[in-house]
């Protein structure tokens, strides 16, 4: 009914975090340009990882939004969600958001977290190999 709205809300928060993190990283890179080049390990920036999460959440939500339009659950006029016209449907919609919607957002986040761990391992493995040489 409107389960994807939970993911949209999470994506909005992630997008804000991503842009603030990107600003921080740019500032840090400008101030530590020389020292970082010598001392730091190769790492995937957090802003890039957050971009992966926002793409997963927003991309998925847009395609689910289309599915809801296909099934007539979303209409182009107020209140946009057909379930909002009937209190019984509204209760069911909120229940679906709390169960299916939250589960979707949680599973996407878990997959993203695992993806980041694997990517970090691959990148740090590469940099360790380079050090050994």
């Amino acid at each position: 009914m409107a389960c994807f709205l939970v993911s949209v809300a999470e994506a909005a928060v992630v997008k804000v975090m991503e842009s603030s993190q990107l600003k921080k990283e740019v500032k840090l890179a400008e101030s530590n340009e020389l020292s970082e080049a010598v001392t730091s390990d190769v790492k995937i920036p957090l802003s890039r990882k957050l971009k992966w999460l926002s793409n997963l959440l927003l991309g998925g939500s847009v395609l689910l939004l289309f599915e809801h339009i296909w099934h007539g659950e979303i209409v182009p006029w107020f209140p946009f969600l057909t379930a909002m016209n009937d209190p019984a449907d509204m209760a069911e919609m909120f229940k679906e958001m709390a169960t299916v919607g939250v589960s979707m957002a949680v599973l996407v986040t878990i997959v993203w977290f695992a993806m980041c761990r694997v990517a970090d391992k691959i990148v740090s493995g590469d940099s360790n190999e380079a050090k050994d040489l």
Partner: protein
């Protein structure tokens, strides 16, 4: 069917992204979008399966056809979003070069 079509498309896109050398087609964007939708539909399928049990696998042919049609439409939308994003961001400046000729 929608879930199956999206998962297959996500796997193919990821494989092409992995093979791509220059990474200038922004296939990471397309594959993340498709994987996001696949995960969400997978959760939806689990909840539906919990409700319908074995009946979940005995869908009427017309429902399956409608679902397959929806899956193809979703895939078309994902491709349109990807190509619009590719043209707007224009990572290698190819569009700019073509237009300025």
């Amino acid at each position: 069917m929608t879930l199956l079509i999206t998962v297959i498309a996500a796997v193919i896109t990821t494989a092409v992204w992995y093979k791509e050398k220059d990474r200038d087609y922004k296939l990471d964007f397309l594959s993340l979008m498709l994987w996001g939708a696949s995960i969400m539909w997978f959760v939806d399928a689990i909840f539906e399966f919990a409700e319908l049990k074995a009946e979940y696998f005995n869908q009427a042919p017309m429902d399956m056809l409608n679902d397959a049609f929806l899956g193809m439409a979703v895939l078309a939308l994902a491709l349109v979003i990807w190509v619009v994003n590719l043209l707007i961001t224009d990572p290698q400046g190819r569009l700019k070069k073509k237009l300025s000729k």
